[in-house]
């Protein structure tokens, strides 16, 4: 038997992906992250973010959406753009699909770590005064942003593994995004099957993680419109910071991350059946 060990394959492919990042200037995604974050911060209400409950909640939702967008975009074309090569290497060289996906994940983790850092630094600089008066931990916020972006990134890898072409991936992605938006539980109060689906979305858990990490319940609401009462009272319980709640939410994001990664490997097994 001449099958290359898993760990060696992982190293080979991780090295390949990191080299491609340099040679093909893929690191420029960091610039787009910076631009998205700046644009987002420009529209957030600087005077009320981390001061008023509803504005903070809206702001954190926008940041969560930005993280999901950034994460998905990082990786949505990463696998499908080289699907022919993956098929060839899987069939002819015994490529381990799990090693291949893991090598993508390690690279994406590196990129997401930088992106989360950019997002957090911009947030802390922009809302400097409000943050100084708040009591949340910047480290907790960093971990939350990282896990949210990374889980979305893994979701992008899953979309990329399912798609046969980059065009197909770019068609699927908006559907995933819209599901993340409407099923987050932020815009509408969800009931029935919609509520069940919402438990599978990154946005719901990401939003909760950000709100809990920023201890959103510490900010008193200035004004709550009548239609916001129900959701406000529901959120008060959901965003409770008691115990190790933040760790529990990080764990949920990690489970989503692992699930997307595992499903990516399974989906990629179909690569052998690809036709010319």
């Amino acid at each position: 038997m001449n099958m290359t060990p898993w760990l060696r394959q992982f190293k080979i492919y991780a090295g390949k992906i990191f080299r491609q990042c340099i040679f093909e200037y893929k690191w420029t995604v960091l610039i787009s992250t910076f631009v998205i974050d700046v644009l987002l911060l420009m529209v957030l209400n600087r005077d009320k973010m981390f001061i008023d409950y509803m504005d903070t909640r809206t702001g954190l939702f926008a940041i969560a959406c930005a993280c999901i967008w950034i994460g998905l975009f990082n990786s949505v074309q990463s696998v499908c753009s080289e699907r022919g090569t993956v098929k060839h290497e899987h069939m002819m060289s015994g490529l381990s699909l799990s090693a291949y996906i893991c090598s993508h994940l390690i690279y994406e983790l590196f990129i997401c770590a930088l992106e989360a850092l950019i997002t957090e630094l911009l947030m802390l600089l922009y809302f400097k005064e409000a943050v100084q008066n708040s009591i949340f931990s910047p480290f907790d916020l960093y971990v939350s942003l990282l896990l949210l972006t990374f889980a979305s990134d893994a979701c992008g890898i899953l979309i990329s593994s399912i798609s046969k072409t980059p065009e197909m991936a770019m068609t699927i992605m908006p559907f995933v995004l819209i599901v993340q938006l409407i099923m987050s539980g932020f815009i509408f109060e969800l009931k029935g099957i919609a509520k069940v689906i919402s438990f599978l979305t990154i946005s719901k858990w990401g939003m909760r993680t950000l709100c809990v990490c920023c201890k959103i319940n510490q900010y008193p609401p200035e004004e709550i419109r009548s239609y916001e009462y129900a959701i406000y009272h529901q959120n008060i319980a959901e965003y409770n910071t008691g115990g190790a709640r933040i760790v529990l939410l990080w764990f949920v994001l990690l489970i989503l991350l692992a699930a997307f990664s595992g499903l990516s490997v399974l989906a990629l097994r179909l690569v052998d059946k690809d036709k010319r």
Binding site: M1, N2, M3, T4, R8, Q9, I12, G15, K16, R19, Q20, F23, E24, E82, G84, T85, H88, E89, M91, M92, S93, G94, L95, K275, R276
Partner: protein, 486 residues
């Protein structure tokens, strides 16, 4: 091709870890060393200025005299610093450094009747299929054992009676095979084509039948579902032997790529494909025994040439080679060299020309040293000069005892390199691809009445006369068997 044909009556075949060369002994004294002043220069640091002296003695024989402190073995026997006054035909001299890490093998030939000798090499695992050798339980050492049911086996020119450990320089004569072992390979003489008595095809077959046979039995390749279901390829039953380079020809949409993909297992077809009675699917999955260069580029363009080849080697080569950095790097350099990519080692693949990209694809597959090498239009976008380099490389691969099968749209460019031709044509009556010819290229020209492969393609594409169906019928009526028309 490893060997070169010579008319001289005495010569050495010199094997080192990265070089195979032929040394003619046509003078009284020839010095072997690593200096430019040496008559025979082997560019290895450990060899020193004067490794040995060889030449013609006064009696008309040939002698060998050591000129250094290296360990000298003659046919496996340690000689110390002694000279060999009279070399005999097929004597094997192994010169090994004091630390046993470096070696040179000199294989002596003096028989004028067999002066034209071609060489090939097989990895020890491949050689195990045709020689009575096996690996020990720890998978570290190879042993040779006597056979009861076969003819006599000579080990270092002595009759083999017990199981013996194989070392660098161990020589074997077993059946048709005479050769010598290096740490990774068995180098063996292949009887070369005598000028008048035997045709190239006959000689080619003699060489190959002992090594391996690719048996292709494709019943049907079906695509589509329900009402759209149709057969696109059917009834191809042929044998291809090691050492053969086979051209696959056919009209547009006849099923050439489908045929190749079905053989490799890229596309599922009913029937069976075996190599030496082992399913090809199994060989592909377990031993990286198949190299395949598809139509589209399959190397990542955002990487450098050297990195891509190195990674391919890390994925395909056995642990024994990966653990030896010198051998590993030698292989990389050798592959870059024969594919004409040495200058481009540090270039980004995306910046290369179409032809260069194709050669990177070929190199990434070749580095794995596959037994069976399939190429689907490797010459697309390649200019004639580059194509010639690639064709010569592919011929060398076939000469190493491998099977090379290739589809090309410019078949006349490499016309001299092919041994056999497979022609797939669309049978209009059945609306699927079928075998319209298999056999030697000369027989193909007779069969089609055309002396050019490109003209054959034109004839197959001729819609007006439906000649492709006629060729299918004609070939089937000849009942040529699995070997095709010889």
């Amino acid at each position: 091709m490893l060997g070169i044909r010579h008319n001289r009556t005495a010569f050495f075949y010199c094997i080192t870890d990265d070089q195979f060369s032929t040394i003619m002994v046509d003078q009284k004294k020839l010095t072997i060393g690593n200096s430019k002043g040496s008559d025979i220069c082997l560019e290895k640091e450990w060899i020193g200025n004067e490794l040995a002296v060889v030449g013609r003695s006064g009696s008309g024989g040939f002698y060998f005299r050591s000129g250094s402190d290296k360990l000298i073995y003659l046919n496996g026997q340690y000689l110390g610093n002694k000279s060999i006054p009279e070399l005999k035909d097929r004597d094997c001299i192994s010169i090994i450094s004091q630390d046993s890490r470096n070696w040179v093998i000199l294989w002596f030939r003096s028989d004028t009747n067999e002066a034209g000798t071609k060489w090939a090499r097989l990895s020890c695992s491949e050689a195990a299929g045709m020689l009575p050798i096996h690996m020990d339980q720890d998978n570290k050492y190879w042993y040779i054992c006597p056979q009861d049911d076969a003819g006599e086996t000579l080990l270092n020119k002595q009759v083999l009676t017990d199981t013996v450990l194989i070392n660098v320089g161990t020589t074997i004569s077993s059946g048709a095979f005479r050769g010598v072992f290096t740490p990774d390979y068995f180098y063996y003489e292949v009887p070369m084509i005598p000028d008048t008595t035997e045709s190239p095809e006959e000689a080619g077959q003699n060489i190959s039948t002992g090594n391996g046979t690719l048996s292709i039995d494709i019943k049907e390749r079906i695509v589509g579902l329900f009402y759209n279901r149709r057969v696109i390829l059917r009834d191809i039953h042929i044998d291809i032997h090691s050492g053969e380079m086979v051209l696959i020809l056919g009209g547009s949409g006849a099923g050439k790529s489908t045929f190749m993909n079905a053989v490799i297992g890229y596309e599922k077809a009913t029937g069976s494909i075996t190599y030496n009675n082992r399913p090809l699917d199994e060989l592909r999955k377990s031993e990286n025994a198949i190299g395949f260069v598809p139509q589209d580029n399959v190397v990542r363009e955002g990487d450098k040439v050297g990195n891509a080849i190195r990674n391919a080697a890390q994925m395909k080569l056995p642990e024994s080679i990966l653990a030896n950095p010198d051998e590993f790097n030698r292989r990389i350099q050798h592959t870059l060299d024969i594919m004409g990519l040495k200058e481009k080692e540090k270039s980004l693949i995306s910046k290369l020309s179409g032809g260069e990209k194709k050669r990177v694809n070929v190199a990434a597959e070749y580095i794995g040293d596959p037994l069976l090498f399939f190429l689907d239009e490797p010459d697309t976008g390649v200019d004639p000069a580059q194509d010639e380099i690639m064709m010569r490389s592919l011929r060398s691969i076939a000469d190493e005892g491998k099977i090379v099968m290739m589809i090309t749209h410019t078949p006349d460019r490499g016309i001299d390199y092919y041994d056999k031709v497979i022609v797939i044509a669309k049978n209009k009556e059945r609306q699927c691809g079928e075998l319209a010819f298999y056999g030697t290229k000369e027989k193909a020209w007779d069969f089609f009445g055309i002396q050019s492969f490109e003209e054959i393609i034109k004839a197959l594409n001729d819609e007006s006369e439906d000649r492709s169906s006629a060729y299918v019928r004609k070939y089937q009526s000849l009942n040529p068997g699995r070997e095709g028309l010889q």
